[in-house]
């Protein structure tokens, strides 16, 4: 079993988000970066569980600069066997997908894992693009994955419910809540992570035709209007006449 888990690095959930003065660039000063939570908690952990049960190799892949190596080592500490970093600035979903697909094409992975989306660009784009580049089936928002020989049974979150499906290996998935439980790396994991292989691969040239060009912060809320607990008719009136939503 050969499993690839694509991990992205994102600002920590609680980070204060800001941009440079003309709004063209994210201001990384003072921001702590983490492994994108869905890649870590759901995708990586499930891949490690399958490897533990069935044998094989889990490869963690990051498209990014050398500064991302702390995040990559964490994936190794959680349980990935080896890691690959495609050396570049990850500029856009189309660009990242192209890098991953070019690397994975020759490697014949059985399953390629993604998280359901990243918490910075909230795109949910890369998994589907990689699947298309490699002409593989894609199961998005998978909340359950079991293997029976070369057939996988999955549950996929859809609006207001789940879809149960089967697909033969190889395929691509994006993982959502339910697929696995978060794992805290233990001391042994952290120690062995240092000596696990981390390979650097050069990026391929690709021009992404969709680019984020301007960032801004949402308009500040006007401030909360407080209503006395015994004035609920007044709240209803405000929602009707002022907010006009009922």
């Amino acid at each position: 079993m050969k499993l690839l888990v694509c991990i992205s690095q994102t600002p920590d959930t609680t980070s204060k988000i800001s941009f440079n003065a003309n709004g063209t660039e994210f201001n990384a000063a003072g921001v702590q970066f983490i492994m994108n939570p869905y890649d870590e908690w759901y995708a990586l952990v499930r891949a490690c569980e399958l490897r533990e049960a069935l044998g094989g190799t889990v490869v963690a892949l990051n498209v990014g600069p050398a500064a991302n190596e702390t995040t990559i080592r964490k994936a190794l500490a959680i349980g990935a066997d080896e890691a690959v970093r495609i050396d570049c600035e990850p500029n856009g979903a189309g660009f990242v997908a192209k890098q991953i697909a070019e690397y994975a094409r020759a490697e014949n992975f059985d399953i390629i894992f993604f998280g359901k989306e990243t918490i910075d660009h909230n795109g949910s784009e890369v998994g589907a693009m990689v699947a298309e580049h490699l002409d593989l089936p894609y199961v998005s928002y998978a909340s359950k994955l079991d293997l029976n020989g070369s057939t996988a049974t999955l549950e996929r979150d859809i609006e207001g419910g789940v879809e149960v499906l089967e697909v033969d290996l190889p395929f691509v998935l994006s993982a959502a809540k339910g697929m696995a439980e978060q794992r805290i790396p233990n001391m042994r994991g952290i120690m062995t992570a240092r000596s696990k292989p981390l390979k650097e691969v050069p990026a391929v040239a690709f021009e992404d035709s969709a680019k984020a060009v301007q960032f801004s912060l949402p308009p500040a809320k006007a401030g909360v209007k407080l209503i006395q607990p015994d004035q609920m008719d007044e709240l209803v009136r405000l929602l009707h006449e002022e907010a006009k939503i009922i």
């Binding site: 189309g94 998005s140 207001g160 419910g161 909360v224 407080l226």
Partner: protein, 319 residues
Amino acid sequence: MVLVFAESPRGQFKKSSYEAVTYGKKVADLLGTSCIALTLGTTKDAGELGRYGATKVLSIPDASFDTFDSQSYASAISEIAKSNNANVVVLSHTSTGKSVAGRVAVRLNAGLVSGVNSLPTTSGAALRVKKSVFSGKAIAEYEISSEVKVLSLMGNAVKPENLGSAVTVETVSVASAKGRVRVKSVKTQEGTVPLPEAEIVVSAGRGMKGPENWGMVESLAATLGATTACSRPVADAHWRPHHEHVGQTGIAIRPNLYIAIGISGAIQHLAGVNNSKVIVVINKDAEAPFFKAADYGVVGDLFEIVPRLDEAFKKFKAG
């Protein structure tokens, strides 16, 4: 031409499909072109999409599309886009759209922006369009410079509008890739609007003390025709089903009205709800962080306030 893929899971169009057609029509007007809608699988009343602005509806009523597969869907949408020279392809940012948009973009060599929440503007031959990023903490404007552009539209970002009248449906066929995913069953809750589509959401947190107290939340939701949601610890403790969990780890929603009851408003919770148009917070702690993100707030005991609010809405509904 702007091509809109109008989803019809289990034969039914969704609100998000009408939103996508409305949006597609407005993008078409901006570009001085027409809007064509595409449906896949067995559908009823596809001609109705004309009411939202489609000047033509293409239908591929092949039963193999009655279950979802991202490959066969993406292949059909791309083939239709090519044969009709589409400049822009619009999809809904739903479970289906998220699985398909990236594939369509690769097939058409197109730039993709997913989860857009407003109309684009033109910049020469390029399009500029905005979406919410950093879990609602910022807005990014993207520029798409490819010849063909793919956009997926965030739910509840535009209202379905009456922009035309019913049209005749043209049946077409394509040689599309065969799906390799075998759908075994689909389980959905009947009778309630799924959270991502709900216009009003009544959500409650740990302040409820226990699952036995949820009757008042359900009653308020029933009065408003709202869908119920909850905070993560509530789902983790199995007080409420997991599909109700909203926030960073649960689902992200953007209803017109979000009523938060006994929820502190942690940043991870806000990440899933801060795009709601109007937020009402009920909390006994005047310092609860949620009040900073709220439009209207009531400081006090939820066990007294919620039934009172329910009564007030009932009185209002009765006219």
